[in-house]
Symmetry: C2
């Protein structure tokens, strides 16, 4: 879906708009020398949770961008579930994060780059909530490039 | 494995001993009107992390016993991985928690009651770390009964 603004100039879709916000979070991670993955949670067009990868800073391998964004969003909502919410994340969630989205009953997950090795999509059984709608590949190249560049620079340093 | 003490009296195995500790955590959850699931993490026979279900108190559906115990243990270790550690948990971990154990590279998972509906064992692909050894059914009845009684009392109240 691509929106055309009234003056005929090509505009971006809501998914691209919010993925840009997730990318902003990913760049925050990059500044802190973390694997650049970012996430946001929206509800009715409003951002209600943000997060980026904090595994190094928190010395916690489970401190993924999605976990931060989901708990922040649930905290903001004051409730347990995120049924009417969308999780935007720059990289396909891992099994842990997809498993977390089950408990939060996330309405929709939109991710950027595919992760064929560790992404939840490699499983041949659905582990997200039955009602969760999945969209992958939004701003895929930009999201993937950020992570590729990060690991490339790490390899060059060692 | 059942150990016999020197005076011929039947003793409990290390797994049963530590599952009792996880059960102690589960009963802490029960006191707080949480679903009674408890977990501990051991390293070389020492308990280095404890946790129980806190989903109600924290109003966070991802605040499972395993997540508390794993992060507490990693924090205690001051490192990222729990390769030489065992996670004892009264209920078969869900997909999120098993997914978390992958990142922590947990050496061994020992659980009590099986959870055929939401446990990670229902998946036909391995989601734990390739090196993680799994043992299920330790003090199974006691672990399951605690949860069954909890839900029974909840139904009676409503």
């Amino acid at each position: 879906m691509r929106y055309i603004s009234f003056d005929g100039e090509a505009s971006i879709s809501p998914d691209e708009f919010f993925m840009n916000e997730a990318l902003r979070e990913a760049r925050e991670a990059l500044k802190e020398d973390e694997i650049p993955i970012g996430a946001i949670v929206t509800c009715k067009g409003q951002i209600i949770g943000r997060g980026h990868n904090l595994t190094e800073r928190l010395n916690d391998v489970s401190a993924h961008a999605e976990m931060q964004a989901l708990t922040a969003a649930a905290n903001y909502m004051g409730g347990k579930y995120l049924k009417d919410c969308t999780l935007y994340v720059t990289m396909e969630p891992c099994v842990m994060c997809a498993g977390a989205s089950y408990w939060f009953q996330v309405g929709r997950i939109v991710f950027g780059a595919y992760d064929t090795k560790l992404g939840f999509g490699r499983l041949n059984q659905k582990i997200t909530h039955p009602k969760t709608i999945i969209t992958g590949g939004i701003k895929e190249n930009e999201c993937a490039q950020l992570v590729r560049d990060f690991f490339k620079s790490k390899r060059q340093k060692t």
